[in-house]
């Protein structure tokens, strides 16, 4: 970091809700995980590994939510991922044959076949079906700083004032982190950057040293932050808050002005799952035969037209290199400008959803790798670092009370609290209240009742995923979100009912446990009043 005028922290937030349905042979929403593995996690891993091999000293901060960690470690989903991959490889084999006389598409069919067989090789032979281990190894090398997050991506501001519920989301999240990474977390990703004053105290109780907020969380804090979002601040509890820089965010996030919308990049919305003859593609669709995204996409964005041109991977890579240079140049200018008005080196916090890289923005992982290389070789204005490295170097920071905030549309809780989803909170709050009462009533219990109480806690945590409220708002997969909320509520009720019975039906309990099977380490007493 010496000599540089500023620091850039690239942060990837990696999350998927817990979706696992052993009761169905084939389940549409399980594809969220499979697509993310093929398109985001494996490409990121191979690029980080390559950077390490080339001895490029890069730094990246990544959150891993406990629900995602649970799915990555789940044996059923591992088997299903491989089956999914096999079918796609079979489809690309057919595609190689079908496109023989269509040169631009033939080349792409070969391209996808190579990508998918590489993915199989990496997943099976290199990582041996365990994707947590390579991320843990990268964190042990110090190039990735992993962040803990809430147990099920619960949106904390709407759990206030039920502190036991907030505490359990954080506590179970920290535990899941320790299981995956074998050490205590330093930083914490608040789901949706949702912060409510006082929650930093709960984080502190679990040994967390810093969290990430959206810009206005700090800008509207009191007293006024001297350095705006360009230096961390300390909450009265002593937990540090870093806040998002909007300028660097916009160039990647924005659909219109951001890099991902470039005409040379791959078009997400043209997929052979929709484009090709139904009978031909039918075997690769889900049970009900609804058309869906296969991940095989042959066109580039081209422009605001329905007449799309074939995708050209070389041209897209060239563009990713240009965009990496552009991003680097803009950060240099930004750092120089900030340095001229600040009396200390600024830190620029750039958080993104990990799935943006690879899944939505196909060339994103290339862009990221190129940016890391260029940042090392082609400039000396800023260095890449993790928030904890920055804190070590600048331990003295302003103390202020950040403002309630989130990074959702509108900056507050509008996305998770509106006419489409507000009904769920009366249930979630009631469940949390009952959970705490049950935990208080059972400071100890026999092994069967302990299992019932632990499962109640799992059902509550799963119902609290912010994903359901979000999906109800966006109305894609809304029926599924509704069903999940309903199922967890109903299972919670039924479990609580068995507590009142003299006998617990163990067979039934085992069925519920096998369905919602995450967090084996969970202890319901985390909900007890303190």
């Amino acid at each position: 970091m010496s000599g540089a005028q500023g620091t850039l922290c690239l942060i990837l937030h990696t999350h998927l809700p817990f979706v696992r349905h052993p009761e169905h042979p084939d389940f549409l929403e399980e594809r969220w995980l499979f697509e993310a593995i093929t398109e985001t996690y494996l490409p990121l891993l191979s690029r980080f590994t390559r950077l390490c091999e080339d001895q490029i000293p890069f730094r990246i901060t990544m959150s891993f939510t406990p629900t995602l960690l649970a799915m990555l470690a789940d044996d059923l989903l591992k088997v299903r991922y491989l089956r999914h991959l096999e079918r796609l490889i079979e489809l690309t084999e057919k595609e190689i044959h079908r496109t023989r006389w269509l040169p631009p598409f033939h080349r792409l069919a070969l391209f996808y076949h190579h990508r998918l067989t590489t993915a199989r090789h990496l997943y099976l032979d290199v990582h041996r079906c365990d994707l947590i281990r390579p991320f843990r190894e990268l964190s042990e090398r110090g190039v990735i700083e992993p962040l803990a997050s809430c147990a099920t991506h619960g949106y904390l501001p709407l759990m206030e004032p039920q502190r036991p519920a907030v505490r359990a989301q954080i506590g179970v999240g920290v535990q899941a982190f320790e299981h995956a990474f074998g050490r205590r977390p330093v930083g914490f990703w608040l789901p949706e950057c949702g912060y409510h004053p006082g929650h930093d105290e709960e984080l502190k109780a679990f040994g967390i040293r810093y969290m990430l907020l959206d810009a206005h969380g700090v800008l509207f804090g009191s007293p006024r932050p001297k350095y705006g979002v360009y230096a961390p601040v300390f909450c009265p509890s002593g937990v540090a808050a870093f806040s998002r820089d909007l300028e660097s965010s916009k160039s990647v996030w924005s659909a219109e002005e951001g890099y991902p919308g470039d005409a040379d990049y791959r078009e997400f919305y043209r997929d052979i799952g929709y484009d090709l003859d139904y009978e031909y593609i039918r075997p690769y669709l889900n049970g009900d035969g609804t058309r869906l995204n296969t991940g095989i996409k042959y066109y580039r964005i081209t422009g605001k037209t329905a007449e799309k041109q074939p995708y050209d991977p070389d041209r897209a890579l060239e563009k990713a290199a240009q965009h990496a240079s552009n991003f680097m140049f803009n950060r240099e200018k930004q750092v120089e400008h900030l340095r001229s008005i600040m009396d200390r080196p600024p830190v620029i916090i750039s958080p993104y959803d990990a799935e943006l890289f690879g899944h939505w923005w196909f060339e994103g992982p290339d862009w990221l790798e190129l940016l890391m290389r260029k940042a090392h070789f082609d400039q000396n204005v800023f260095t890449l670092a993790t928030p904890s490295e920055y804190l070590e170097r600048f331990p003295a920071n302003q103390v202020l009370q950040p403002s309630m905030s989130s990074w959702g549309h509108g900056g507050y809780s509008d996305v998770w609290l509106n006419g489409s989803n507000d009904w769920c909170y009366r249930h979630l709050h009631k469940m949390a209240e009952r959970m705490t009462r049950a935990a208080d009533a059972h400071p100890t219990s026999d092994s069967l009742r302990t299992r019932v109480l632990n499962q109640m806690a799992r059902e509550l945590l799963l119902a609290q995923s912010s994903d359901w409220a979000f999906i109800l708002k966006t109305q894609t997969h809304a029926a599924y979100a509704y069903r999940r909320l309903h199922d967890h509520l109903a299972r919670f009720d039924a479990l609580q009912e068995t507590l009142r019975q003299p006998q617990v039906d163990e067979a039934w309990l085992s069925t519920v446990e096998s369905k919602d099977s995450l967090f084996p380490f969970l202890d319901y007493r985390v909900y007890a009043t303190r």
């Binding site: 959206d214 509207f220 009191s222 965010s249």
Partner: protein, 267 residues
């Protein structure tokens, strides 16, 4: 629950026996005109209901409602909501009381820490570069929130944190300056007049002017005209500095200049 700086959300479930026992306290003559209402109390910095709320307002409910979005339009204030029955004569019978919530600020704090002192100009320069003031559309909608606080058009929200010069607060004492800095941002090519006098617009579109504020009421006109002269926006905040004498007697109420703007748009 807090939705955003301006809106709350309340839900409830009233047991029929609770409602019946409240109705039993009513006079027969009060029954026909009885209304269900939400009573919203501003309880900022005070212990409610031990102490009286700063102010309250009622929202009449339709009989079947079980939840309500409440527009308080008061960022950085604390609220408690009661649901109850209101008689025509104004007697209120509470059925249930909510937890207390505090709405977040909708703009920068007016408090400045001595040890980390900053000037308005520097602060807005930093915000300007993070929110890209005056250089095209914003990355997310909430960035427009910053703009709402920075550009003249925002003042309709009644939030004037960005207008009054911050009071210096250290320890338990407070000093109030009788200066007002008017600042904001617009298109960098626009022309801005404050009280009819042209004001320099900086490269990033921001502008500012310090005005000494005498006791009493002061009317100011800020007019921004687009570079092609076709669009004009004018804002007329009315600023009054009432009294600084109440300092200390009423904790929680900061004697900052208050202002009520009016907005007029000319197409």
């Amino acid at each position: 629950m807090v939705k955003d700086p301006w809106w709350l959300f309340a839900y409830w479930e009233i047991r029929s026996e609770t409602e019946r026992s409240v109705r039993n306290q009513l006079l027969p003559s009060e029954i026909p005109d009885l209304r269900s209402v939400l009573r919203v109390y501003d309880v900022t910095d005070l212990e409610f209901p031990v102490r009286q709320a700063h102010r309250s307002f009622d929202i009449p409910l339709s009989g079947l409602a079980t939840s309500w979005y409440i527009e308080t339009n008061a960022p950085n204030r604390s609220f408690v909501v009661e649901i109850g029955l209101l008689t025509a004569s104004g007697r209120f019978f509470m059925l249930a009381r909510s937890n207390q919530v505090t709405a977040p600020r909708a703009g920068p704090s007016e408090v400045i820490d001595d040890a980390w002192a900053t000037t308005d100009e520097l602060f807005w320069k930093l915000i300007g570069s993070s929110a890209l003031l005056g250089s095209g559309s914003s990355p997310t909608v909430w960035a427009q929130l910053l703009l709402r606080n920075a550009v003249p058009g925002s003042w309709s929200s009644g939030t004037l944190a960005g207008m009054a010069r911050p009071a210096m607060v250290r320890g338990f004492w407070c000093r109030v300056n009788a200066d007002v800095i008017i600042y904001g941002a617009t298109d960098p090519k626009a022309r801005v007049l404050i009280q009819g006098r042209p004001v320099a617009v900086r490269k990033d579109g921001t502008f500012s002017l310090r005005v000494t504020l005498p006791e009493g009421t002061q009317t100011m006109t800020i007019e921004a005209t687009s570079s092609d002269g076709r669009q004009t926006q004018s804002i007329t905040p009315v600023v009054s500095l009432t009294s600084a004498g109440s300092l200390g007697t009423e904790p929680g109420i900061r004697p900052l200049p208050t202002a009520r703007p009016s907005i007029r748009r000319t197409p």
